[in-house]
């Protein structure tokens, strides 16, 4: 004997404060409880993969800025690593260090955004978000100093990086690194022990380790479920094998664990950057490559650990200056597919928090 109700269909999005972009959830509800959930994507589709087949490899780098627009550096890095392996381009050591520094800075900025919006989704009126934006702002300034852009950086090049950072960059970076741990502590003290936040996120949106692997979850979401899988450790690229850092993994696989994993990764990133700054050698920041690079025919799958997880580029070359196939394995899209498992059967607020904890970027989903 259950209550007889009309099917109550709620369209969350395409414009809704907690979808973080133009993306739609079609939710069938019974009172406050979600009975069914459909994810409708494609509002931001820009046909990046097809466009890439008409452009040279270097011309494709700016596209990746726009895919995951919160982690442009990591995306640049991924495509450059893939093409370098395909074409056999050597990267100078200084460039590798610079890449690590910028990728980790990008990770801090992106995690700041992810955790801030997660707490906003849980109902805090944007204060945690803006606290983290304070540091993100400084990181974006560093980006601006180096390459002139804040969001769509287009900084990495095949065979190195576009520019060597200006001299004032290093002092500003050092200042940021010095204050960053206290800033993270301050932020954590605002949220981590908050009983309301705990009540909202503990045991909400639980994904078991087995489910996470079966659903090919990646990144902090996977590590939140307890699986110690980080490409920086598992398949070190650039100079990550020379860095000393730890990988945080969660205990329960709930929203709170994913949040804490991101917070800890921020601290680890600061450590990595400190080591990289200490070790960075002098030298060229770039090897020269022909303007129209023609890699030998073949295929390559290059992957990096972006802020949202494993970001893969599958590139097929037929010997011409343009790639024959250019596929992006976007972490957001694949992480999003587990939302249904988390959201069906729980109430709407829990689903919103679970969605926030996956840290999707709609540009990355639709490409």
């Amino acid at each position: 004997m259950t209550t007889v109700n009309e099917p109550y269909v709620l369209n969350i999005g395409p414009q809704h404060p907690s979808t973080h972009g133009v993306f739609r959830l079609r939710v069938v509800m019974d009172g406050e409880v979600i009975r069914d959930l459909d994810m409708i994507v494609g509002y931001l589709h820009r046909s990046m993969e097809k466009l890439a087949e008409e452009r040279t490899y270097t011309q494709n780098i700016p596209f990746t800025d726009r895919a995951d627009y919160l982690a442009a550096m990591s995306n640049n890095l991924g495509v450059c690593l893939a093409v370098e392996r395909l074409a056999g381009v050597e990267v100078p050591e200084r460039a590798s260090y610079l890449r690590v520094i910028f990728a980790e800075l990008q990770r801090i900025a992106s995690h700041a955004m992810a955790n801030g919006t997660l707490v906003s989704d849980a109902g805090a009126w944007q204060t945690p978000l803006l606290y983290m934006f304070r540091e993100r702002e400084k990181i974006l300034d560093l980006f601006e100093m180096t390459c002139g852009a804040r969001l769509t950086t287009n900084y990495m090049r095949i065979g190195g990086v576009a520019f060597d950072p200006p001299p004032e960059f290093w002092s500003a970076l050092q200042e940021l690194l010095d204050e960053m741990p206290t800033r993270i502590d301050e932020y954590a003290s605002l949220v981590v022990d908050s009983e309301i936040f705990l009540a909202r996120t503990r045991n909400v949106g639980v994904i078991s380790a087995a489910d996470a692997i079966n659903g090919s979850l990646v990144g902090p979401a996977l590590r939140g479920s307890g699986v110690p899988w980080d490409l920086r450790k598992a398949e070190p690229y650039c100079v990550y094998d020379r860095m000393n850092f730890e990988v945080p993994v969660g205990r329960h696989g709930d929203v709170y664990d994913r949040f804490m994993v991101r917070l800890e990764e921020t601290r680890q990133s600061v450590e990595i950057i400190k080591q990289a700054v200490a070790q960075i050698p002098d030298g060229p920041h770039k090897t020269d490559i022909p303007l129209a690079l023609r890699p030998p025919p073949g295929e390559v799958y290059g992957r990096v650990e972006g802020p949202r997880g494993e970001l893969g580029f599958y590139v097929v070359s037929d010997g011409t200056p343009a790639p024959y196939r250019f596929h992006i394995r976007a972490p957001s899209l694949i992480n999003l597919s587990l939302l249904r498992e988390m959201a069906v059967g729980v109430s709407l607020p829990d689903a919103v928090v679970a969605l926030g904890s996956l840290d999707i970027v709609v540009g990355d989903i639709d490409r």
Binding site: Y8, V9, L10, H16, P17, S18, E32, S120, A122, G123, A124, W125, T127, L130, Y131, R134, E137, D141, E168, S171, A172, E175, L190, V192, D193, S194, I196, F197, L198, A199, R200, R202, A209, I213, R223, G224, S225, G226, V227, P228, W229, D230, K233, E246, V247, P248, V249, G250, R251, Y256, D257, M260, V261, E264, S347, L348, P349, D350, V352, G356
Partner: protein, 474 residues
């Protein structure tokens, strides 16, 4: 700024660095302005000293020009009309009309300042600047917003119930204004000092529920209906703890009249919040639920249901909803200071400072608390709030009520000096609050500290097996 310091990061940071403090601006004033300011300050000091002399010699008490209590003026007006042989309904009408205009304009002005204060304060909490362009310090920003809202098109959604869609913004405004009626601003200064003030307050606050439901139901919008039903469920649940906590206050003071409650606190030199800490907490928390403010703003939870019951309202209708929300926060501040913070009294200072200023300051203090909460806390979930009301607040309030009944009997009938009975009550209630809350939390199995566990740090790499090993090791 020294030369080697990095340039300010952003335009905003540049603005913050270049922003001069009020003191440095005052130092930069020209000499004439300083002279005028000094004369004005001197004048204010002399006037204050004169008033102080009048107060000390008692020449002011009860005169019509005694501005410490505007009730004096109305009483004198009533006497005067009686002496003139005018019908007794005339002074009631005149004072009623004047008082009504007074309350409306006071609350209206407060709303404007409240919007500005809330935005500025939250901006400070969030390391931002807040509105600072329109007028001095951005003070005219709320007016500009109101003008903007007035210009906006009023949309009526397809399928909306035309009549009932039109009514709620007005309906919700009425109880928000009526609630100010019995608030005592000074010993004799109260718009309608009802015998049944406490019950009246509770009754009026229960009227807003219907307007909220109608707004949500008539909008023909799923978000609106969800928000409306959430709000209705919350308001109904949280009315009970509010009533019980106010009952405890009434048991001590022995009167349902708001002015008597304040007078009791002034007379015994104690605030109810000291005497009834749990009652004050219950009232404050339940009030945030009633008026939809963080951490209990689930009725209009932005990240979940957009704007709740007023999602479909646009233009000044939405503006009215927002104004009422703010007005209710101020009203709760006034109620909180009346019931628990000693109202217009401040341990004798009310002899010197007009009571309504003290009352206003206390009200704004509570309002500041609301703003602080809003800037800090995340939001509860509906079922958690319901469970909190029914499993925690209501049982504990009832237990407290039993104790308070005995204590109030002792205070009135034992014949012991007040310091013993009231002091004993303070200690018993404080202990009861601590012990009761802890025992109840244990009984329903709540332990937040165990929940907050940091992630495990590892150096390993692997799949499912590694995950199991790590979990087993920790």
């Amino acid at each position: 700024m020294s030369a080697e310091a990095p340039r300010p990061a952003t335009p905003m940071a540049r603005q913050i660095l270049e922003h001069r403090s009020l003191l440095s601006r005052a130092r930069a004033l020209p000499g004439e302005a300083r002279f005028v300011l000094a004369v004005l300050t001197l004048g204010a000091l002399v006037t204050g000293a004169g008033i102080g002399f009048l107060v000390v010699t008692g020449q002011l008490d009860g005169r019509w020009y005694d501005i410490r209590d505007l009730g004096n003026a109305t009483a004198h007006f009533r006497d005067w009309t009686q002496r003139q042989g005018i019908d007794s309904s005339v002074p009631y009408l005149v004072t009623g009309l004047l008082g009504g205009i007074g309350i409306l304009s006071l609350v209206g002005g407060w709303l404007v300042i409240g919007v500005w204060a809330e935005r500025r304060l939250i901006a400070k909490f969030q390391i931002r600047q807040g509105p600072n362009r329109v007028g001095p310090f951005g003070l005219l920003q709320p007016l500009a917003d109101a003008v903007k809202l007035l210009q906006k098109e009023v949309l009526i959604p397809i399928g909306a119930d035309k009549l009932l869609f039109f009514l709620p913004p007005i309906l919700i405004f009425i109880p928000a204004m009526l609630g100010w009626g019995p608030v005592p601003w000074a010993p004799k200064m109260s718009y309608a000092d009802l015998n049944v003030g406490v019950v009246y307050t509770i009754a009026i606050s229960s009227l807003g529920v219907l307007a909220v439901f109608l707004a949500g139901w008539s909008s023909n919008n799923h978000y609106a209906l969800l928000g409306a039903m959430r709000t209705v469920a919350m308001m109904v649940s949280y009315e009970i703890p509010i009533s019980i906590s106010l009952l405890a206050v009434v048991l001590f003071t022995g009167s349902l009249q708001l002015s008597d409650i304040v007078a009791w606190q002034a007379q015994h030199y104690i605030w109810m919040i000291v005497l009834l800490p749990f009652g004050a907490f219950t009232f404050l928390f339940a009030s945030t639920a009633e008026i939809n403010r963080t951490p209990n703003d689930i009725g209009e939870a932005e990240s979940e249901i957009v704007a709740g019951f007023h999602t479909e309202y646009s233009g000044m209708k939405a503006g009215l909803f927002l104004a009422v929300e703010l007005g209710n926060a101020l009203l709760v501040g006034a109620m909180m200071s009346t019931f628990f913070l000693g109202g217009y009294s401040l341990f004798g200072l009310e002899e010197w400072v007009p009571g309504y200023l003290i009352m206003g300051a206390k009200t704004f203090l509570v309002y500041f608390g609301f703003v602080w909460l809003r800037a800090t806390l995340p939001r509860f979930r509906l079922d958690q709030l319901m469970a909190f009301a029914w499993k925690f607040l209501i049982p504990l309030s009832i237990i407290q009520l039993l104790f308070v009944a005995v204590e109030s009997m002792l205070i009135v009938q034992s014949g012991l000096p007040g310091i013993v009975t009231i002091g004993g009550s303070v200690i018993i209630n404080a202990g009861l609050t601590v012990i009761g809350v802890r025992a109840w939390a244990n009984a329903i199995g709540y332990s937040p500290k165990e929940m907050a566990s940091p992630p495990i740090m590892t150096n390993g790499v692997g799949g499912l097996r590694a995950a199991e090993q790590i979990r087993a090791a920790s």
